[in-house]
C-alpha cells in the first residue's frame, strides 16, 4: 500500500493508484487548503511542498511523491517560515478572491527556504506558473519581499 508523508505524518493512501496528489489530499485526507484550478498543472493553485520544492499536484499521481515530505498549506501554517509568509500576505492584503492565495503562500515559502535572499525579479520568475485573475500580483510580490526581509 502507498504511504505518503503528509505534514509530518506517514499516512496510508487508499485512493486509486492513478489519483493525483491534490485529489488524495482534498478528498481522502480532507486537506482542502490545496485548491484545484485546472487539473492540468497550469495555474499553480494546487501547489504544495515536496521536501522544500514547490510542486503542482493536481495531475501528478500521488504515488510519484512516495518518499518525499509533502507539506500542504495546513502544514505550513504550523511552521515559522509559513507563518511569516502568511503574516506578510495579511499585512500586504495580498488576496482578493483568494483562490490562488494558498498556492502562492506555499510557493513563496519554498522560495524563502531554497533561495534565502531574493529580489523582486527572482520572485516574479519563480511565480510565473501561478495565475491570479483578480490582479493581486503586486501585493503578493510585496509580501514575498517583506517575508524575505523578516518584517512580515
Amino acid at each position: 500500500m502507498l504511504k505518503l508523508r503528509i505534514n509530518g505524518q506517514l499516512r496510508a493512501v487508499t485512493s486509486a493508484p492513478d489519483t493525483p496528489l491534490a485529489y488524495v489530499l482534498r478528498d481522502e485526507f480532507k486537506l482542502k487548503g490545496t485548491k484545484i484550478g485546472c487539473g492540468l498543472e497550469q495555474c499553480g493553485a494546487c501547489t504544495v511542498l515536496a521536501d522544500d520544492e514547490a510542486v503542482q499536484s493536481c495531475a501528478t499521481p500521488a504515488a510519484v511523491f512516495e518518499g518525499r515530505a509533502i507539506t500542504t498549506i495546513e502544514g505550513l501554517s504550523q511552521t515559522p517560515e509559513g507563518k511569516r509568509v502568511q503574516q506578510a500576505f495579511v499585512a500586504q492584503r495580498a488576496a482578493q478572491c483568494g483562490y490562488c492565495t494558498a498556492g502562492l503562500v506555499v510557493a513563496v515559502t519554498s522560495l524563502l527556504r531554497t533561495q534565502g535572499a531574493f529580489d523582486r525579479a527572482t520572485a516574479q520568475t519563480a511565480l510565473r506558473g501561478h495565475l491570479c485573475r483578480c490582479g493581486s500580483h503586486p501585493r503578493v510580490l510585496a509580501a514575498a519581499e517583506a517575508a524575505q526581509k523578516g518584517d512580515g
Binding site: 485512493s15 498549506i73 516574479q124
Partner: protein, 705 residues
C-alpha cells in the same frame, strides 16, 4: 433603489447573540463588498468591526437587490446600509436618552457604548439596537457620521483564512452522503447526443457511477471525486454527437459588419428608439475602427454548485451574482414554484461578470433532482469552463471625427457594434430566464431560444461609455446590436466600456499628436468637469519625470470616468516594445477620484487589480474556435498576464471629500487598455486597432508599415 422595496431598518440590520448582523442582497466576489458594509456600519454605529457579521445571502431571506454587477454595490446596498445604520443610531440615542432621563445632546457614542457625560450611566449600543421597533423606517435624510479613520487597519473579511487555506469555497464543501458530479460536455451547446457506446456506459454504471441524462444533457455522479472525473472522461469518449452545422467560423468582425443590426441613436448615455439615426461625418479628419475579440472571464476556479432535492424542494448553493433571478429562472425551467427553490450564495473564485456560475447551478439542480435526498457537488473542469462560459462579446467600435481650426474635436460619429452583454438568466418575455441557461438548450424541454434585445438603460451593454465624457459640440452616437454571432456572450467586467474607451482614447491620443499638444492638456481642453481636470492634474504631477526614451520605450495616457458617473481614472503607462514584438509594461501610474472613500485599501486593490486585468485583456486574451467548438480550452492556448509581466504600479487617490461614494471595480481596466495601446503608438509609431496587442499583432503591423 433598494430602500423603496425594503424600507425598514430591520430589513438591513438585526442584532443576534450580541452581534450586529448586516443584511444585503449583494454578494462578495472578492471585491470586498462585505468588508465595505461592515466598515460603513462600524462607522455609523461606532461599533468595533469584530462585533459585526454579514448574513448569508439567501433567497426568501435577504433583500432582493438583483445582480451584483455594474460597480453598483457601494451605491445601492452601501447607501441603504449607511442610511439604515444612521437611522438606527438616531433611534438608539433617543431611546438611551429616555431611559437615562437626560438630553440626547448629553450622550456620547463610542466603541459600542452610549455614555452620559456627567454621570456613570452607560448602555451598549447593541442592546439599544435589539430593542428598536420592527416598523422603524429608514430615514433617507439620516445624517451620516464623519469618517472614522481608526478603522484603517481592519483586515478584509476572510483574508486570514485565505492565507491559511481554511477559507471555505463552494468547491471545498462536504455534506454527509454527498456525491461529486461532472458533466459530459457536448462539443457545442446545441449538439445533439445521438447515442452512447453501451460498453463504457455499462462499465461506468457497474463501477457505481450514476449517469444522468435529460435529452442531450449528460452528467456523471458518484464518489470518490477522482472516479467521477475519470468516469466522465471515459463516457465523453463514448458519446456520439451531432453538431449540426456547428459554429460559424471566419472573421467575426467581418461577419458582424455585414449582418443586419438593430441600430439605435444614443443620447446622454441612453438609446432612443424615437430618434432618427445620426448622419455619419462625410469627410472626417480621423476615421478608424477598433476591435476587441471574444474574451473569457476565466475564473481561476472552474464554476461549481452544491444542490440537494428533498421533499419536493431544491436547495442550491451557488457563486452566482444574482440569487433571485437565478432562482426564478431555475423554477421556471423545472416548472417549480419559486418558493420551492432556495438559492444561497457561497464563495467561489473571482468571476468578473457572468461566467458559468448560473449554468452550473442549474445543471447541479438537474442532477440533484434525478438523485433525491443526496447532496450533489458539481464542478466544471477547466476545459468545461473555457468551452462553456458565456464570453465577453466581440465588439467593433467605429469612430469618425472632424476637427475645428484649433485641432479640437468639433464633431464625432461613433458606432459600437456587437452581440449582447445580457446573457444572465433573468425573467423576461418568452421565458428569457430559462432560455439563457445553457442546459436548457440540450434538455428535452420546450423552451424558446433566447433572442437578445438592446439594453436600454443608461450607459449599459454595448453603449457603456460610448457617450464621450468630453464636451464635443456635435456627438452622433449609435449602438448596433448584432444578435446570434457564433459564441454565446454575456456580461464581462466593464461591458462595452473597454472597447469604447479604447476607441475614444486612441482617437484622442492620435488627435493630440496631430495638434502637437501634450496628451493630458489636449484632453483637458475638452473637459468641463473640474474633478476630471483635477484627476489629470494629479496624473501630470505623478509624471514629473519624463519617460525613459530608450529603444522601443513609450508612454501612453488615457482618461475615463466609468459610465460618465462613477470613479474617474487617469492612467499613464510606461512600456517597452521589445525586439520580439512583445510588450513589457514598466510602470503604470494611476490617479483616481471615487468620491467619499469607504475602504481605502479595498479601493486601491480594485483599481490595481483592474489595471492588471485590463493589461491581460490588452496584451493576451482572445478566444479561438472552429466549427466543432472552442479551441482555447486551457491556460496554454488562452494566455493571460503572468507574474513576470507585472509592472510597477503607483496609485494616488484624490480626496473626494463628501462627494457620494461611487463604485470603482470597473473603473481602471478600460483606460489601462487604452493607455497601453497609446504607449505602443508612442514607442513604435504603430497605431493598433485590434486587441490583443501581442507580439504577433505588433510584428504584423510593423511589416505592413
Amino acid at each position: 433603489m433598494s430602500l423603496t422595496v425594503y424600507p425598514f431598518v430591520r430589513d438591513w440590520l438585526r442584532v443576534a447573540q450580541g452581534r450586529l448582523v448586516l443584511r444585503t442582497g449583494k454578494v462578495d466576489i472578492g471585491q470586498r463588498i462585505s468588508t465595505a458594509l461592515m466598515r460603513i456600519a462600524a462607522e455609523e454605529l461606532s461599533l468595533p468591526i469584530d462585533r459585526i457579521d454579514v448574513a448569508p445571502v439567501r433567497t426568501g431571506d435577504s433583500p432582493d437587490e438583483g445582480i451584483t454587477s455594474g460597480s453598483n454595490s457601494i451605491q445601492q446596498t452601501g447607501q441603504a446600509q449607511r442610511l439604515a445604520c444612521a437611522t438606527a443610531r438616531g433611534a438608539a440615542l433617543l431611546r438611551a436618552a429616555e431611559g437615562f432621563g437626560v438630553d440626547v445632546a448629553a450622550l456620547d457614542l463610542a466603541e459600542g457604548l452610549v455614555r452620559h457625560r456627567g454621570s456613570n450611566k452607560q448602555i451598549s449600543v447593541l442592546d439599544l439596537l435589539s430593542e428598536l421597533a420592527d416598523d422603524l423606517k429608514v430615514d433617507p435624510e439620516a445624517p451620516s457620521r464623519a469618517l472614522n479613520t481608526a478603522l484603517g487597519d481592519a483586515p478584509p473579511r476572510g483574508l486570514r483564512a485565505m492565507v491559511e487555506g481554511t477559507f471555505a469555497y463552494l468547491h471545498d464543501l462536504e455534506r454527509p452522503g454527498m456525491l461529486h458530479a461532472r458533466i459530459v460536455r457536448p462539443p457545442v451547446l446545441d449538439a445533439v447526443l445521438i447515442d452512447i457506446d453501451p460498453d463504457p456506459l455499462h462499465r461506468a454504471q457497474a463501477a457505481g457511477l450514476q449517469i444522468i441524462r435529460d435529452g442531450s444533457f449528460l452528467a456523471v455522479a458518484g464518489t470518490p471525486e477522482w472516479a467521477v472525473v475519470r468516469g466522465a472522461e471515459k463516457l465523453s469518449a463514448a458519446c456520439n454527437w451531432d453538431i449540426g452545422t456547428g459554429l460559424e467560423t471566419g472573421d467575426v468582425f467581418e461577419v458582424m459588419a455585414e449582418r443586419d443590426a438593430e441600430r439605435l441613436t444614443v443620447v446622454n448615455g441612453f438609446p432612443e428608439t424615437s430618434l432618427r439615426l445620426p448622419e455619419p461625418i462625410e469627410t472626417p479628419d480621423f476615421e478608424a475602427t477598433f476591435k476587441r475579440p471574444y474574451t473569457l472571464h476565466g475564473a481561476l476556479a472552474p464554476s461549481a454548485a452544491l444542490a440537494e432535492f428533498k421533499a419536493g424542494q431544491l436547495e442550491i448553493l451557488t457563486h452566482s451574482q444574482g440569487i433571485y433571478p437565478l432562482r426564478d429562472s431555475i423554477a421556471d425551467s423545472l416548472a417549480m414554484a419559486p418558493e420551492d427553490v432556495v438559492v444561497e450564495h457561497a464563495p467561489g473564485s473571482g468571476c468578473y461578470g457572468h461566467n458559468a456560475a448560473d449554468d452550473v447551478a442549474f445543471e447541479t439542480a438537474l442532477i440533484a433532482r434525478a438523485l433525491p435526498d443526496r447532496p450533489v457537488l458539481l464542478k466544471y473542469t477547466r476545459a468545461d469552463e473555457h468551452a462553456r462560459e458565456p464570453v465577453g462579446p466581440a465588439m467593433a467600435v467605429s469612430v469618425r471625427a472632424s476637427l475645428d481650426d484649433e485641432g479640437e474635436v468639433a464633431a464625432l460619429w461613433m458606432e459600437a457594434r456587437g452581440d449582447t452583454f445580457r446573457g444572465r438568466p433573468r425573467a423576461g418575455p418568452n421565458r428569457a430566464g430559462a432560455a439563457r441557461l445553457a442546459a436548457n438548450r440540450a434538455r428535452d424541454a420546450d423552451i424558446p431560444r433566447f433572442v437578445p434585445e438592446p439594453n436600454m438603460n443608461r450607459h449599459a451593454g454595448l453603449h457603456r461609455n460610448l457617450d464621450p465624457i468630453y464636451a464635443f459640440a456635435d456627438k452622433r452616437l449609435v449602438k448596433a446590436l448584432v444578435p446570434d454571432l457564433p459564441l454565446r456572450s454575456s456580461a464581462l467586467r466593464c461591458l462595452g466600456a473597454t472597447a469604447n474607451i479604447l476607441a475614444l482614447e486612441s482617437m484622442m491620443d492620435s488627435l493630440a499628436g496631430r495638434a502637437g499638444a501634450d496628451p493630458i492638456s489636449y484632453r483637458q481642453r475638452h473637459l468641463e468637469d473640474r474633478r476630471a481636470a483635477a484627476v489629470l492634474d494629479r496624473l501630470q504631477d505623478m509624471l514629473k519625470r519624463p519617460p525613459f526614451l530608450g529603444e522601443g520605450a513609450g508612454r501612453g495616457i488615457a482618461y475615463a470616468q466609468y459610465k460618465n458617473a462613477m470613479t474617474r481614472v487617469g492612467v499613464a503607462v510606461d512600456l517597452t516594445v521589445q525586439e520580439c514584438g512583445a510588450v513589457r509594461l514598466d510602470h503604470v501610474r494611476l490617479a483616481a477620484d471615487a468620491g467619499r472613500v469607504v475602504d481605502a485599501d479595498g479601493l486601491r486593490a480594485q483599481l490595481e487589480g483592474g489595471v492588471l486585468q485590463g493589461a491581460s485583456w490588452a496584451l493576451h486574451e482572445e478566444v479561438h474556435w472552429g466549427p466543432s467548438g472552442r479551441e482555447t480550452l486551457d491556460w496554454d492556448s488562452y494566455p493571460v498576464l503572468r507574474f513576470d509581466e507585472v509592472p510597477k504600479i503607483t496609485i494616488e487617490v484624490i480626496g473626494g471629500g463628501d462627494a457620494p461614494s461611487v463604485g470603482a471595480g470597473e473603473a481602471s481596466p478600460p483606460p489601462t487598455v487604452a493607455a497601453i495601446a497609446n504607449g505602443i503608438f508612442a514607442a513604435t509609431g504603430l497605431r493598433l486597432y485590434r486587441l490583443p496587442l501581442n507580439a504577433d499583432a505588433i510584428m504584423t503591423a510593423a511589416l505592413q508599415e
